[in-house]
């Protein structure tokens, strides 16, 4: 009993609280399958390209993860990102270039302000998050186009443009150069910071508690309104960083970008094991989810699938992710509860197997 118990717990740990282990296996399987089908896939440049394409979605996904853990859903992050980043570029090009740090500070400030709007409305009036953020998405985008500008800016201010071409790793393999963009560093740091925040701070545990049962959180003494407002401010700031990274890596700024791509991010987070019912999710799972979505997208390109179908593939992934959760919830809800150990098991082998299955 003891040995089987410990092996079960090792399995449980490998699998992860949110099926991170399963997701890692899927990712490895995908990479191996693609490498077998197309030798060009399993090369350092391709890997770096996938990492590069994951940077912006990953930063956005961190924000979405936090909101989903708290039991909400945020569709306004892309609007916040483009608002904050475009405003910063516009300010830097038309008034004065505040330098890289100044630019990021400005973007963070704008992101925090817009996040505050979300948080205040949601926490104060206890409204459904999807509807509120859908509304603010429209408001932010409209305000951006009306008051800040609608023009495409082809040249970033000098401080940002300098970062655009900076790589953190440059390796030459078999005559092919592989580059890893410098923005991978802040993305990684943000992952670590958010993971630490969620696991090791009372603020982070409060987000899980609210996602588990908001009323219970209130009764336990968590300051629910404060946590929610702060959380949306933080998520707004994450979105702003994502928007800046997007423009830096794209070497241009346009107010028409990003909004409309929310589905990919939400799909990645849900696929990464965050529960749409709230209270569950991890940074590791989200990271894996983002990578899986990117690898699948990359594979489809390599396989020559028209890009229109990639949207369909992401939509399919979202349904699969949510479907798996719903099935799991249904299965555990339907489980027959008998807390009595059977003294004399029935002889039918079929019944035995069923009981074993229920125990596992």
């Amino acid at each position: 009993m003891n040995t089987s118990g410990s092996s079960v717990s090792v399995l449980r740990r490998l699998r992860g609280a949110n099926n991170e282990g399963v997701l890692a296996l899927i990712l490895i399987g995908l990479v191996l399958a693609m490498s077998a089908a197309n030798p060009a896939f399993f090369t350092l440049p391709t890997m770096f390209a996938i990492v590069r394409s994951s940077i912006v979605p990953l930063i956005f996904a961190l924000g979405v993860l936090i909101v989903i853990i708290s039991g909400g859903i945020d569709v306004s992050f892309a609007a916040i990102a483009v608002f904050a980043a475009y405003t910063t570029v516009r300010f830097s090009t038309s008034i004065t270039d505040p330098g890289l740090i100044g630019a990021f500070a400005l973007a963070l400030l704008v992101g925090a302000g817009l996040g505050l709007v979300n948080g205040a409305v949601i926490a104060r009036f206890k409204l459904p998050t999807l509807i509120v953020t859908l509304g603010t998405q429209g408001i932010f985008k409209g305000a951006l186009l009306t008051y800040i500008g609608s023009r495409y800016i082809a040249d970033l201010p000098g401080s940002m443009a300098a970062v655009s071409t900076t790589n953190v790793v440059e390796i030459s393999v078999d005559g092919r150069d592989a580059y890893l963009h410098v923005m991978a560093v802040p993305a990684l740091l943000l992952c670590l910071a958010v993971a630490w925040m969620l696991r090791r701070t009372m603020f982070g545990r409060g987000i899980y508690a609210i996602g588990g049962d908001q009323e219970a959180a209130r009764r336990a003494g968590f300051r629910v309104v404060r946590i929610q407002v702060l959380m949306y401010v933080l998520v707004g700031m994450l979105a702003a960083v994502g928007g800046m990274a997007y423009q830096i890596m794209g070497r241009s700024s346009s107010p028409q970008e990003l909004v409309g791509g929310e589905l990919d991010i939400i799909a990645a987070v849900v696929l990464g094991g965050a529960s749409i019912f709230g209270g569950r999710g991890s940074v590791l799972g989200t990271t894996l989810g983002v990578l899986v979505v990117q690898v699948i997208g990359n594979s489809l390109i390599l396989a020559g699938v028209p890009s229109a179908w990639q949207r369909a593939a992401v939509g399919g992934l979202l349904i699969v992710g949510v479907g798996v959760q719903a099935l799991a919830a249904k299965k555990s809800g339907r489980r027959v509860h008998t807390n009595v150990d059977d003294p004399a098991p029935e002889p039918e082998p079929e019944a035995e197997r069923e009981r074993e299955g229920a125990r596992a």
Binding site: R199, D213, A216, G221, F222, V336, T338, A358
Partner: protein, 504 residues
């Protein structure tokens, strides 16, 4: 009580003084006072809607009183807030436990204390020893790493108790702590209560179950319609006198079952019913006009048997005959077609549309039988059925348009029963028909069941409330570990026999 510190009048851990609370002109509490001493179990009793829940909410800081005071440690609070209450050592264990289903047992135990201390950082590893210590001290067998949502109701309650104690609670208020527990779990809880009492904790129980109230508490306070009726030593009270004070009149819970005619036809015949992992080889019959009790501990399979007969958990083997005809029960539709109705255990989530009106809820299960020949709803017949049931079940509501959420537990239960009566099933199964219902309503619900049985319906009552089974059932099936171990009849049916056979 200025500062009584002599030995014969110890300092109260909590005093409630003249608390008044009104909701939109309706007085929920009218000047209620209460003292709670360390090391005592104080029971707060009263019918649904008498103001018990409001009083708890005021003590815990979830609601603010219109006037009155709450005194803890000689500090007078005109209104509590949740954090102040927790800091003063007041812990409420709500009926729904207010745990976080997505977090582990250890974290649920540790988190509230960390919140109250206004900590900023959290460490899973550092919070574990405190949780482990309290679990060990109480001698419990709880898996600290399990997610709370995977626990049984009893274990969830134990988690909630540990959580209250880890924060050095001096006053613990438990709202309906035994409702969801079985006989053995209740006695385990009570021995735990004794241990907490020995630590000098003041406990307040809110309960409907009078025999339990008297078994565990030293003093009893009874509320009726927001007023304080009396506070007395439990030794001076008996169930009949408590009931009298709660309801204002006498309630009879003696055995009252009709005599079944010898030739009453068999309506339901179950033979060799089995479902791996739940129950096996269950055979019994149910006659017309009979009320059959099905009892057993939680997890004994009593609920699963009913769910099998209702097609929710289709049985793997065995046969079921309704009026001699063999029926297949693979789905709920099959069961309804066979004339079987089921009022589930958790009626709020499974049996009612809370936001809808009483009328809509009543008719929801029988729309098919209220059609005109053009397949549209026959609204005059619908109205007639609704009004008839509303009157027959004596539902206390202004009219049939009131939403079900506004009803008390007893009246909501009547609406669920009405929903099934509208469908005129041959066999009606009710799981815990009076759970969470006060004594007065309980007798009225049992009277309704008796009347329906007398009118020819066959009824199965799934329950572990022994007095209720004794009072209403012709026969009682005792289920133990998934097997039908006894069929009690006539004189054999009494409270002690049922409880012994259930647990043996």
């Amino acid at each position: 009580m200025s500062s009584p510190s002599s030995e014969d009048s110890p300092v109260a851990a909590l005093q409630v003084r003249d608390v008044v609370k009104t909701y939109g002109g309706v007085a929920a509490l009218q000047g209620v006072s209460l003292d709670l001493y360390p090391g005592e179990v104080h029971c707060l009793a009263g019918e649904n809607g008498c103001g018990k829940s409001t009083l708890i909410k005021i003590i815990s800081g979830a609601e603010k009183p219109d006037s009155g005071q709450i005194v803890v440690d000689d500090i007078v609070h005109h209104a509590m807030d949740t954090t102040a209450a927790i800091k003063s050592g007041i812990q409420v264990i709500y009926q729904d436990f207010s745990l976080f289903p997505n977090l582990t047992v250890a974290e649920n135990i540790a988190l509230t204390a960390a919140v109250a201390e206004r900590k900023r950082l959290y460490s899973r590893r550092a919070s574990r020893p405190a949780a482990q210590a309290i679990v060990d001290e109480l001698g419990l067998d709880l898996d600290l790493d399990a997610d709370v949502e995977s626990l049984s109701v009893a274990d969830k309650q134990l988690t909630a108790i540990c959580r209250a104690l880890v924060h050095e609670a001096r006053v613990i208020i438990m709202d309906e702590p035994t409702t969801a527990l079985t006989h053995t779990e209740v006695s385990r809880l009570f021995s735990l209560v004794e241990r907490m009492r020995a630590r000098g904790v003041a406990l307040m129980f809110v309960s409907h179950k009078l025999d339990e109230v008297l078994a565990v508490s030293q003093r009893v306070t009874i509320l009726r319609s927001g007023r304080h009726v009396l506070t007395a030593d439990a030794a001076d009270l008996d169930p009949a006198s408590i009931t009298r004070h709660m309801t204002g009149h006498d309630v009879d819970d003696a055995r009252a079952v009709s005599v079944l005619p010898h030739d009453a036809p068999v309506v339901l015949e179950v033979e060799g019913l089995g479902l791996p992992g739940a129950f096996r080889d269950i055979s019994f019959t149910l006659r017309e006009g009979e009320i059959l009790g099905v009892t057993g501990l939680l997890g004994s399979g009593r609920t699963e048997i009913a769910e099998s007969l209702f097609g929710v958990l289709p049985a793997a083997r065995g046969t079921v005959r309704v009026r001699g005809e063999r029926v297949r029960l693979r789905s709920i539709d099959d069961a309804i077609a066979a004339g079987i109705g089921y009022v589930p255990e958790d009626r709020l989530s499974q049996g009612l549309f809370l936001e809808k009106s009483i009328a809509d809820n009543m008719i929801a299960g029988s729309l098919d039988s209220h059609r005109t020949r053009w397949r549209t709803l026959d609204s005059s017949r619908v109205r007639q059925t609704i009004q008839q049931l509303f009157d027959r079940l004596r539902i206390k509501a202004p009219n049939v348009g009131a939403s079900v959420r506004s009803l008390s537990g007893g009246n909501a239960q009547r609406v669920v029963i009405a929903k099934w009566l509208a469908n005129r099933p041959r066999v009606l199964m009710l799981n815990g028909p009076t759970v969470g219902v006060d004594v007065g309503s309980k007798q009225e619900i049992l009277d309704i069941l008796r009347a329906e049985a007398a009118a020819g319906m066959s009824i199965m009552v799934i329950s572990d409330d022994a007095p209720e089974l004794v009072s209403s059932c012709h026969r009682v099936l005792v289920i133990r570990q998934g097997r039908l171990v006894h069929i009690l009849e006539g004189q054999e049916i009494d409270v002690t026999t049922i409880q012994e056979r259930m647990a043996a």
